[in-house]
């Protein structure tokens, strides 16, 4: 079920009201049923895949806790392999086979192609698989007691607000909350609804509006003037932020209305002064997941500088691959590896120290935004060749294209008007200005009731008056 659908408009209040009407001991059941309905609104049969990983990890958790030190590791490896296997089959199998086939054909080894699987990627697979894996790892490390209640453990993996696109929670933060008795609180309700409104504003007013332009240009990038490509790339940088952080805000807000606290996933990333800071502010739940479970597992910075650089590279490449089985995502990960290692090397060896003032901060923010936007070209492009074409046409300032003019081109404008561009840009500026002033959860508004009312009225009115209600899916659902 999409957050931006009429179904959710009924589902959300109904679930929240029933949650408080139900006796505490049955609330887990209500939330589990609601989460199943939420997930099954996409492709019902795929709940079986979720069920498979839930059963494996539930058993693994208990077995790991009870086992001796040596066996604990074996059971952890089995559980991780089972999760990775699901990902490998549904997400990476076809990519791997396609590349093997291509390799064989290009070397003339075989004219026959290995068969591909005709399957649709289950929605949010990488998210809930990673959340499930974090549970077994934490049990193994002794940071989390194994959950005996199968229903509550299932809910930990399936909790509907963050089931399909995170934040990827840690068991220490979420599991115990299902056992706590939450009382209705109008403060939580207000905080949650406000954050949801903010998320909907980012998604419906900005992301879905800009996506119309981005889609037209990126669907046939070779046909467009270089300025169109630059504008579409910058729009995509804003679109993906508003889309994904908008989703996170709605998820955190929806959970908040019932009294649950989910972790912050975005902290104004486009105001980062360097690439390292960017990764501390963008998709925080995934960055910390990789840091906690992969970077540290690889040795972190405990085995010297060279090894640290290698570990960082591995983490970013895996992070790219996590997003999707496509060379574009791997290239995106590789670019970020390059950026971050260059930054770390510079930081380590350069003797030039910039003074810390407004100008150097602005320069840092601008440079980081440009680098991140450049990498988004690879993330958004339909194929690696499309991505290189975009880069080439931008660098060579190519204006020898079918749609030669920039924004006033009638072919582009017939589908996406100048009004949309103007509204999208103005709304994005307003959004960034508000985010500079307010913390990610918008809590500072709590102390100023009138400002709070003004904020909610302003946001809600803009959603109704300027929202794009085209039922666009969230970008990160595909991961």
């Amino acid at each position: 079920m999409l957050f931006n659908s009429l179904e959710f408009l009924l589902f959300f209040p109904l679930t929240t009201i029933l949650y408080f009407l139900f006796p505490h001991k049955y609330r887990w059941l209500l939330l589990l049923v609601a989460s199943c309905i939420f997930y099954m609104a996409f492709i019902p049969a795929y709940i079986l895949i979720l069920f498979f990983t839930i059963v494996i990890d539930y058993i693994a958790g208990i077995v790991i806790e009870n086992a001796t030190l040596k066996k604990r590791k074996t059971f952890l490896i089995i559980s991780i392999l089972a999760n990775v296997l699901v990902l490998a089959i549904f997400k990476y199998y076809n990519f791997f086979i396609e590349n093997v086939n291509e390799l064989f054909h290009s070397f003339g080894i075989s004219t026959q192609s290995l068969p591909l699987l005709n399957i649709i990627l289950p929605i949010g697979l990488s998210f809930h698989t990673f959340q499930a894996m974090s549970y077994t790892i934490e049990v193994y490390r002794g940071n989390q007691r194994a959950e005996r209640h199968f229903g509550i453990y299932s809910l930990y993996v399936m909790f509907y607000p963050q089931l399909v696109a995170g934040p990827i929670e840690r068991p220490q933060n979420l599991l115990h909350q299902f056992k706590e008795k939450h009382f209705y609180s109008s403060r939580h309700l207000l905080d949650g609804l406000r954050l949801m409104l903010w998320g909907f504003f980012k998604k419906l007013v900005i992301a879905d509006r800009l996506s119309q332009y981005v889609d037209i240009v990126y669907n046939s990038p070779g046909d467009f003037h270089y300025l169109n490509l630059i504008i579409a790339t910058l729009f995509f940088a804003v679109q993906i932020y508003c889309d994904f952080s908008g989703y996170s805000d709605i998820a955190i807000g929806a959970a908040k209305t019932m009294g649950f606290d989910l972790m912050t996933n975005f902290n104004r990333p486009y105001f980062s002064k360097n690439i390292q800071e960017f990764w501390k502010r963008w998709h925080i739940s995934l960055s910390t997941w990789f840091k906690d479970y992969l970077y540290i597992f690889l040795g972190g910075n405990r085995h010297g500088i060279k090894r640290m650089y290698l570990n960082v590279s591995i983490v970013f490449l895996v992070s790219g691959f996590w997003h999707g089985a496509n060379w574009t995502y791997i290239m995106w990960g590789a670019l970020h590896t390059l950026f971050i290692i260059t930054y770390m090397l510079y930081h380590q060896y350069s003797k030039i120290k910039f003074p810390k003032n407004i100008l150097s901060n602005a320069l840092g923010i601008f440079t980081t935004f440009l680098l991140v936007s450049f990498a988004w070209i690879f993330f958004r492009a339909g194929s690696i060749s499309d991505a290189f074409l975009v880069v080439k046409n931008i660098i060579t300032l190519n204006d020898n294209t079918i749609f030669a003019s920039v924004l006033t081109d009638k072919h582009t404008l017939s589908e996406f008007g100048i009004t949309s561009i103007v509204i999208g840009v103005i709304m994005a500026i307003i959004m960034f200005l508000i985010e500079i002033k307010l913390p990610p959860g918008l809590q500072t508004l709590d102390k100023k009731p009138l400002l709070n009312v003004a904020f909610c009225t302003f946001t809600f009115s803009l959603i109704i008056l300027l929202g794009v209600f085209a039922k666009e899916s969230f970008i990160y659902f595909q991961f």
Binding site: L6, L189, L190, G417, S420, P449, C456, S461, L465
Partner: protein, 313 residues
């Protein structure tokens, strides 16, 4: 102020702001689309008897003048072309029309290359909102993701159904403009489309996009054929004129679509007029753009259509 009071106050203020905005925007929309409303009222509310109905997209809307057809053949025809229409809208138009009107004797259905594309079910679904009392309109909107009940309950939610293009037109309406530019007119659903001819006649864009052919769209066409057959309506297919194939050449799979329509026409014994092959299609002074004839072109094409209809009567 207590949190709950803040929520209630925010809701009330939002509803007031949106209702006020709706009153303003709606006034602009009504003014801008005054002719469209008139057209759709004739089709979906009135009960006039017409002998011939022309159904299709803007390429029908601006190319067949019932005045010419009626005077040549002594018929009473109506142009039911809708801007950006696809087979879902064509089917809905025909079915909703038949709710109130007696069946016409003939129906000329113009099929474009992208008539089978249902990715965007309605080009402008909000134009149908004043007509949701018509059962077919109401059902089709609801079946395609547009819940009319919400709009009936909260009228300002209508704004949520307007895209930026519509909102821009509402602003134009507030300034006193309407859909029909100065010097143009509307007659029985037909809208004139400038007197100017084509200046730039060079076709530069070829085969850059693929026309979607949705299986559902083929089913809708089948439904239209069945409906016409049950109501004893003589159904004819056409492909409207275009300048030197300038529109169809944009699609890399145009032959696939033509063959599909051809096979359906042959199977159901329906005459299919390929009017892209008419000699007028090479005369730039008859076209407003590559896909649409201008007023002069429409006069000439309407004569051709009229003569055909006289023959087919």
């Amino acid at each position: 102020m207590k949190p709950l009071a803040q929520i209630v106050l925010s809701l009330i203020l939002t509803f007031v702001i949106c209702q006020l905005a709706y009153l303003v925007i709606n006034k602009g929309t009504e003014r801008y689309y005054i002719h469209k409303e008139e057209r759709l009222t004739e089709l979906f509310k009135n009960r006039t008897t017409f002998d011939v109905l022309f159904v299709g997209s803007s390429r029908t809307h601006t190319s067949i003048n019932p005045k010419i057809v009626d005077s040549v053949c002594q018929l009473h025809s109506y142009n039911a072309g809708v801007e950006g229409g696809n087979l879902l809208e064509f089917k809905m138009t025909i079915e909703a029309y038949l709710q109130n009107h007696p069946p016409p004797a003939m129906l000329l259905l113009t099929l474009d290359i992208n008539s089978f594309d249902l990715k965007r079910p309605f080009f402008n679904y909000s134009q149908y909102l004043p007509f949701v009392k018509n059962r077919v309109i109401n059902q089709t909107l609801n079946n395609n993701g547009h819940r009319t009940a919400l709009i009936k309950l909260l009228p300002f939610m209508k704004i949520a159904s307007y895209d930026d293009y519509m909102k821009g037109n509402a602003l134009k309406g507030l300034k006193g403009n309407n859909e029909i530019p100065e010097g143009e007119y509307q007659y029985k659903g037909y809208m004139t489309n400038t007197q100017r001819g084509l200046k730039d006649t060079q076709v530069i864009v070829t085969g850059y996009r693929q026309a979607a052919v949705a299986a559902k769209a083929v089913d809708y066409l089948d439904d239209i054929i069945k409906r016409c057959s049950t109501n004893k309506i003589k159904l004819l297919f056409s492909y409207a004129p275009e300048f030197k194939n300038g529109l169809q050449d944009q699609f890399s799979n145009k032959e696939e679509v033509f063959n599909l329509v051809d096979s359906i026409a042959v199977k159901n014994n329906i005459t299919y007029f390929r009017d892209d092959k008419l000699s007028l299609c090479t005369e730039p002074e008859l076209f407003a753009n590559f896909g649409h004839v201008n007023r002069k072109g429409a006069d000439k094409y309407s004569m051709i259509v009229a003569e055909r209809l006289c023959d087919k009567r």
